[in-house]
């Protein structure tokens, strides 16, 4: 026995050495292949491109928050590039004087910059020609202070639109106002919301084809959502399309051809609800509208159904939590796709839709891409409404996939909330895989830059009572960091390959928009006030700057009267998640702020309130 030991040991040792060698070779091989793949991914011919006709925007200017109708937020200025971005310095700043969430994008028209503050929605025009950028004029619309109390998630304003010498703005209490861009004089003013019913307006209006398109907020207050088109010249309402109710209210007519059978039928906006629940059914439009001038169609998403307690509204709850395509002139619906039929988690469909032309299974398709709150990256044929793909881009337990045959999202039965028992570990949480803060797309890289969240939640239904002008929720919820313990993530998504190119984890939730430039730099801000520039191809951090407060705004880029490229961003924490600091709430209550403050109880350690515009440029 004893003599056989050395032999045995030798055998084992030789075996181990051989195994290690084999393993080394295998791993090395894979690693090499992976490295190779990482080096040369985007040299392929088939890149996604900005939709033809929708990507145009005036050179070096910024007229609408999304930059262009395709919502790419892409600036073709390339002065600032990956080589020199590290030298960016603040060129000037401007204090707005208000300390709520500054979610708006500044606009630059000619040599003037236009800013709008959160409630009370004051507009400033800054003269960019003078070295100290003085205020040319300002305008205070004096909204009704009561509206502060019914705005669900801070008193934000997401921006204005410029067209044809006029600025179009909204106020929190639901007035659309046209201003003369030169003088700041009011041209017309049209109220489109009733705050006694809980309606407010926070979205940035979109001007296109002679119409000002504006929706409403208040999906948390049992509002019956609607999109209004106002005549650009007179401010008269041209058409109004509700998100619930009979077909004639929803502007569903003979031209309505939804792709999936579940959206076909008469008066589904009534029949997919119990009783008269559709009258308080939500489906507000508070996010982004894209416009395809060639197809003459607008695309927008509707918000969550009301109340949040889904047990109170059995049925599909049409036409909430879905994407509408409409004819911009008549408002008639063309197609509809419901991302979350019978929504269980406040997973609205209001996120930005980027209009692209890209190859899908070998053929070029006209698509819209939406990073959905459900956590899926939807690629939808924007002509027909067919879902071409839907891949998860955020941590996900709530859904198992999207059935491309029926278009229906597939629920994980273990994560369906109920009354009387808390359902735990729902990912994504109520703000979704990504909330309103818009992504950017660079046609140079073919990548979509998605600033998003990594939050999960515990959720329970408690039953809702409807009292006009008060919240209509019926849930208690508690959010927290998703798997990995980080709360925000910047993902560069390749829509053609249907997977991320790179990802950056952020400790705090990402609540700011993104900007991509022709210099292959991507800008975004974080809740702790850092404004960051990363390499559009690799995600490498190139530059960062600490602003006075958390960033929830939308960066833009413009060419100043002096010929230099500037980058502008609002700093001023707020919005749903940042409201914890801007509203001075109490994070000891884990359900505060509909449960989101529980995810960021430490926010006050990173940021205080603020309200300041930062403009950066390369040193002269």
């Amino acid at each position: 026995m004893a003599q056989r030991w050395p032999k045995l040991v030798l055998l084992v040792a030789v075996g181990l050495v051989v195994a290690a060698l084999v393993a080394f070779l295998i791993i090395r091989g894979t690693g090499e292949r992976a490295a190779e793949a990482a080096r040369t991914p985007y040299e392929q011919p088939a890149l996604a491109k900005t939709a033809a006709g929708a990507g145009a925007h005036p050179a070096g200017q910024w007229y609408i928050p999304a930059g262009d109708y395709a919502s790419t937020r892409f600036s073709d200025l390339a002065d600032i590039n990956t080589q020199n971005v590290g030298q960016l310095k603040p060129a000037f700043t401007f204090d707005t004087g208000y300390l709520k969430g500054h979610e708006a994008a500044p606009l630059v028209v000619g040599s003037t910059m236009y800013l709008v503050t959160p409630y009370p929605n004051v507009v400033y025009a800054l003269d960019l020609t003078k070295p100290d950028r003085p205020v040319k004029w300002s305008f205070n619309p004096h909204p009704n202070p009561k509206s502060q109390g019914i705005a669900c998630c801070d008193v934000v304003d997401r921006g204005m639109s410029y067209d044809n010498g006029r600025l179009f703005m909204v106020t929190l209490d639901g007035q659309v106002i046209a201003l003369d861009a030169n003088s700041g004089a009011q041209v017309w003013r049209t109220p489109v919301a009733d705050i006694s019913k809980g309606e407010t307006v926070t979205m940035a209006p979109l001007v296109a084809a002679g119409k000002v398109l504006v929706g409403d907020s208040g999906g948390e207050l049992g509002v019956r959502g609607s999109l209004k088109a106002l005549d650009e010249g007179s401010g008269k309402v041209v058409w109004k399309a509700y998100s619930t109710g009979p077909d004639k209210d929803v502007l569903i007519g003979p031209n309505f051809h939804p792709y999936y059978p579940s959206d076909q039928g008469k008066d589904l906006g009534v029949k997919s609800w119990p009783g008269e629940a559709w009258k308080q059914g939500g489906g507000t439009i508070w996010g982004w509208i894209s416009y395809d001038p060639e197809l003459h169609m607008i695309y927008y998403g509707t918000s969550n159904p009301g109340p949040w307690d889904a047990e109170d509204r059995p049925g599909d709850d049409k036409w909430t939590a879905g994407i509408f395509a409409r004819d911009i002139d008549t408002g008639q619906a063309r197609w509809f796709y419901q991302t979350a039929p019978h929504d269980l988690y406040d997973h609205d469909a209001i996120n930005e839709m980027i209009l692209l032309d890209m190859p899908v299974n070998g053929t070029m398709r006209k698509v819209l891409v939406q990073p959905g709150r459900t956590g899926f990256m939807y690629v939808i044929d924007r002509v027909t409404g067919q879902v071409l793909s839907a891949d998860p881009y955020a941590s996900m337990t709530a859904y198992t996939g999207v059935d491309l045959k029926t278009g229906r999202i597939q629920h994980n039965p273990a994560e369906v909330p109920q009354s009387g028992r808390v359902t735990r570990g729902i990912c994504p949480a109520a703000p979704g895989g990504k909330d309103w803060n818009p992504s950017a797309f660079s046609p140079r890289t073919g990548l979509l830059y998605v600033p998003h969240l990594n939050l999960c939640m515990d959720h329970v239904y408690t039953g809702a009572n409807y009292i006009s002008g008060t919240p209509f929720l019926g849930v208690e919820s508690k959010m927290y960091a998703g798997p990995g313990g980080y709360r925000g993530e910047m993902t560069a998504w390749d829509p053609v390959r249907r997977k991320p190119a790179w990802q950056i984890r952020e400790n705090l939730p990402l609540w700011s928009g993104a900007l991509a430039t022709a210099g292959d730099v991507v800008f975004y801000g974080t809740l702790d006030g850092w404004f960051k520039a990363v390499d559009a191809r690799s995600g490498k951090l190139l530059w960062k700057y600490r602003t006075e407060s958390g960033i929830v705004g939308q960066p833009i880029s413009y060419r100043g009267p002096d010929g230099r490229q500037y980058i502008a961003i609002y700093s001023g924490v707020g919005g749903w998640v940042g409201g914890l600091v801007s509203g001075g709430f109490d994070p000891r209550d884990p359900t505060a702020g509909l449960g989101i403050f529980n995810a960021v109880p430490d926010l006050a350690k990173y940021t205080g309130r603020g309200g300041r515009l930062y403009v950066f440029a390369l040193p002269r």
Binding site: L99, K100, P120, P145, K146, S147, Q148, G149, I150, A151, C152, C153, E220, V422, D458, V460, T462, A464, N465, I467, G469, T470, P471, F472, L473, E476, S477, K478, G579, S582, G583, G584, F585, D586, P587, R588, D589, P590, T591, A592, G593, L594, F597
Partner: protein, 178 residues
């Protein structure tokens, strides 16, 4: 202990017990048609009704139920706030007295608090006010309850500091300044 002393002690316990534990389904109204909140105008003399509500476990529990039913929790959550200000902290924009709170509920406040006058009875408003005070430990510890039948909302109110921070009476919070 002498017997008169014992008797008076018993009487004391008896009074305290009756106040905190009694259940009067009708509330403790001065006549419903009586002058609304006369005492609110006179902060020196607190409303005589106040103590019947915020020192009574049953009334506070009724207020707690109304807080959910009347969607107060939609804005103020379980005290932490959200759409509306936090109620569990030490800031009181419009005063911390029972009468102030009832006034806020009844008539609303300019920055968004809706008016519930005509939607709730006065007794219900007093119950709500008592519960609102309990969110910041402004009611006796002995009448608070450990938790609700619901999602856990953090540290039980029974364990929070029994000595509430002193209320700050009407001071404009800078956030509310227009």
């Amino acid at each position: 202990m002498s017997s008169p002393c014992r008797a008076s002690l018993l009487a004391l316990v008896l009074l305290a017990g009756c106040d905190e534990q009694a259940r009067d389904p009708r509330g403790h109204p001065l006549p419903e048609t009586g002058p609304l909140l006369s005492a609110a105008m006179n902060p020196a003399r607190p409303d005589p009704r106040a103590v019947d509500y915020y020192k009574n476990a049953f009334e506070v529990s009724q207020g707690q139920q109304l807080f959910q039913w009347m969607n107060c929790s939609g804005c103020h959550s379980n005290g932490g706030g959200g759409m509306g200000p936090a109620l569990s902290d030490t800031k009181w924009r419009y005063g911390s007295s029972m009468a102030d709170i009832v006034q806020t509920i009844a008539n609303g406040r300019p920055n968004g608090m809706p008016s519930f006058s005509g939607k709730l009875t006065q007794a219900e408003m007093w119950q709500l006010a008592a519960y609102v005070r309990s969110l910041s430990q402004h009611v006796p510890q002995s009448i608070r309850s450990g938790r609700t039948e619901g999602l856990s909302v953090g540290e039980p109110s029974t364990l929070r500091d029994p000595h509430p921070p002193r209320a700050v009476t009407p001071k404009q919070d800078e956030a509310s300044v227009e």
